[in-house]
């Protein structure tokens, strides 16, 4: 399913509970959407870098199973943006549901 434009919000949501590395973020999005939101994983990192440039997430070096990994965590401003995005999405989805329901 095409979910262009919502990937940054989904990344912030995935990071809202705990810091994760890129692969785990991709898996979380796929698992939590029960496979509906399937995307090309190469596009995840540019979105993560953009969020990092905007100060919404920050990265640090970590180790998993003896392998160095780059972990990402959400910042305070990232949480603010996420709660704003959630409210906007609810409003938008309600509006679309109403329109489609009327059709």
């Amino acid at each position: 399913m095409n979910f262009k434009g919502t990937l940054p919000t989904l990344i912030l949501e995935a990071l809202a509970h705990e810091p994760c590395h890129g692969y785990r973020i991709a898996q979380q999005i796929k698992e939590r959407s029960r496979g509906v939101l399937d995307f090309k994983e190469g596009t995840l990192y540019p979105a993560l870098h953009k969020l990092e440039n905007e100060g919404l997430v920050e990265s640090y070096e970590g180790v998993e199973k003896g392998r160095p990994r780059r972990y990402y965590r959400i910042t305070k401003s990232g949480r603010k943006v996420l709660s704003k995005d959630r409210a906007e999405w609810r409003q938008l989805s309600q509006a679309v549901t109403v329109i489609l329901g009327e059709a």
Binding site: G22, Y23, F39, G42
Partner: protein, 227 residues
């Protein structure tokens, strides 16, 4: 037989490794050396996790390699997206050269004094010439003084916030327009081709700087990015 299987498997692995390398080569095209290294590291980490997961799901190493590379998607699309968020080689070069210039000026007191004294002297001289009735020469010196002031004086101005930087840049553009108007007067339109040719490098630098400002957090901006 097992040697042959192992050999075939190895060849398959090499092909897929070269698939990943080909993917990475395309995804990192025109990126700066640091950006490319960063992309390679994160994609290789990702690929390794995806490959391990595919193997634990029962795929053979060769199939797992192919699955992991295919999951990354189109390398050209990724390259386009990376170039929007990471420094390209041209941007990294501009950043390096700008830092060198700023350091060269700001670390030498005599050079700093000279670069401030030159435009100030030119402006004083132009004022004196205007008062003496030599308006043509006075105008030329005034324009020269203003240009030198913007070019050399900027690194020494207290511009450390994006708001001040925006004001400075607007003033700079206005000053450039005024300089052009003063030099060519009523023939400005006739000489617009010269303006287009001479201002093009400036526009390119401004455009590149704007792009760099989007890609680097403000806390890491060097002085010349504000200007």
């Amino acid at each position: 037989m097992s040697q042959l299987a192992s050999h075939l498997n190895m060849n398959g692995r090499n092909t897929d490794k070269s698939n990943l390398d080909a993917w990475l080569n395309q995804a990192t095209r025109h990126l700066s050396r640091d950006s490319a290294a960063q992309v390679r590291a994160e994609i290789q980490e990702h690929y390794q996790s995806a490959r391990d997961a595919a193997i634990s799901n029962g795929e053979t190493p060769g199939q797992a390699d192919r699955t992991a590379v295919a999951a990354l998607g189109d390398a050209a699309t990724a390259n386009c997206q990376y170039r929007n968020v990471l420094l390209t080689s041209a941007e990294a070069r501009l950043l390096r050269e700008g830092q060198w210039e700023t350091r060269a000026v700001c670390s030498r007191t005599w050079l700093k004094s000279l670069l401030v004294a030159m435009p100030v002297a030119a402006l004083w001289a132009s004022a004196a010439l205007f008062l003496g009735g030599q308006s043509e020469l006075g105008r030329t010196l005034f324009v020269g003084g203003l240009t030198l002031l913007v070019a050399f004086g900027a690194p020494m101005l207290p511009i450390y916030t994006p708001a001040r930087a925006r004001v400075f840049r607007r003033l700079k553009y206005v000053l450039l327009a005024v300089t052009f108007a003063l030099v060519f007067g009523t023939h400005a339109l006739d000489w617009s081709w010269l303006l287009a040719c001479s201002v093009w490098p400036l526009f390119w630098i401004e455009w590149t700087r704007a792009s760099i400002r989007r890609k680097i957090p403000q806390a890491r901006w060097p002085k010349h990015l504000y200007l």
